[in-house]
Amino acid sequence: MPEPTVVEVSAAWAPPAALLLLTLAWAGACLDGLLGPAPGQGRVRALRRPLTETARLLRQPRRTLVGADVMLWRIGGAGLVLVALLMVAVVPLGRWTLADLSVGIVWFNALDVVVWALVWLAGWGPNAVHSLVGGYRFLAQALAYELPLMFALTSPAVAAGSLRVADVVAAQHTVWFVVWMPVAFVVYCLAVAGFSVWGPLSPAAGADIAGGVLSEASGPDRLLLLGGRYALLAAGAAFAVPLFLGGGAGPLLPGWAWVLVKTVLLLAALVAVRHRLPTLRPDRFVEVGWMVLLPLVLLQVLFVSVIVVGGS
């Protein structure tokens, strides 16, 4: 196994990294608007929609509600983007990374659990029934996908023998992990949709509860909530690249370009999933998560462990 060559850059690169993540989130929002334009809207207008929505929301006055817990509400809303930024801090862009933690995978896992708290707070804060229902739905569904996600994250760690993201990238120099861990990859992508309140796992923001956690958010808070969802999708897609898709490996382009290409492709796939799959009800998904996904992903980890022990 070649030595992992990841260079930790100084914290001064954090703002450009944040800008890169937000650009990816923007691209995701543009694609989402393109795939599902409002009736009567042309392509160009749909592409401009993130810009117009941002401008509109920045100027929109905030809604005040009786008895709202404003501090918790703002924390819930603003935290999503912050969590996404922290998630990508451990993703190596080719040879460079912001934080070369020895437990990068656990860092990502801890952050996606923080999203539980944030979405619930965003639902609790407004003191409104629909957003509260949305927050509770999120917790019920998160209990179902979280354990499969944890084991799906354990799978590459077992194969690489380390929790460090650079080691996981280095362990894929012969074959990418997505080839022999497809179950873990699919479960991981599902969980990314889950913690981004996206697509099949978005009952927390469902239309049947008037938008759920998004129902009472207005103005800059709404912008942060909506933008946070796209940012979390982008961060999840970015983290899948070193974990399952070989990091910066690829023929012609340099490492960092391949990381970006793979992230964009996976982000596009995740965004498109919303327009293809229906939203799953949390009480039904709970049974699927515990009775189907968890045993499958445990078998996947067993398979990986057998191969690793047998090969060494």
């Binding site: 020895s102 437990v103 896992n109 539980w116 003191n127 009480d283």
Partner: protein, 188 residues
């Protein structure tokens, strides 16, 4: 120097948040104040090179507090509107005892002649923990797992309102289950 500042900040945050648990007006704030306290302790563990344990503490505690908030609201019935609440008994005794305990423990911490450090920490702390868990301390993990299983079973037995016989009928043959709040895909 920087480490000391970070540690004292985290320590102050942890203690202040812990005190806030019993002072704030709403259950959600109390629960998340406890979560902040735990996160501060988890981050403080990162300072002493316990990377894995610190992050796992943060992970588990945030998850636990998120679920616990639901239970707190359920039991205490608070809406987000902040209502003053102070439900204590024997407050003065508790204060005296806790201050006394703090003085005792602090005196112990400062006055006991602690031994010097035994060996150097391992180079890769996480890998060393993994080796210890799978090697010399395997029995500990083996013991913890039936304890966890027993906890799951006991928790469900205590908390579930309807037994198997309530749900499936006296001969356990009535499928799908007769629940007031149906769930699952409707298989059984």
């Amino acid at each position: 120097m920087l480490e000391a500042i970070v540690f004292w900040t985290l320590g102050a945050v942890a203690v202040a948040a812990g005190a806030a648990v019993f002072k704030v007006d709403s259950m959600a704030r109390a629960t998340y104040a406890l979560a902040v306290s735990f996160v501060a302790v988890g981050l403080a563990l990162l300072l002493v090179d316990l990377h894995y344990v610190g992050l796992v503490t943060v992970l588990m505690m945030v998850m636990e507090m998120a679920i616990m908030a639901v239970y707190m609201v359920m039991f205490m019935g608070m809406n987000p509107a902040l209502m003053p609440m102070s439900m204590v008994h024997g407050r003065r005794t508790a204060l005296v005892v806790s201050v006394g305990t703090f003085l005792l423990l602090a005196a112990g911490a400062l006055l006991v002649p602690w031994p010097s450090r035994r060996d150097a920490p391992p180079v890769d702390v996480t890998a060393a923990l993994g080796e210890a868990l799978m090697g010399s301390k395997m029995l500990v993990m083996i013991t913890v797992s039936p304890v966890m299983l027993a906890t799951i079973v006991a928790g469900i037995v205590l908390a579930a309102p309807r037994t198997r016989y309530d749900r499936f009928g006296d001969d356990l043959r009535g499928h799908p289950a007769d629940d007031p709040q149906p769930g699952g895909v409707g298989r059984r």
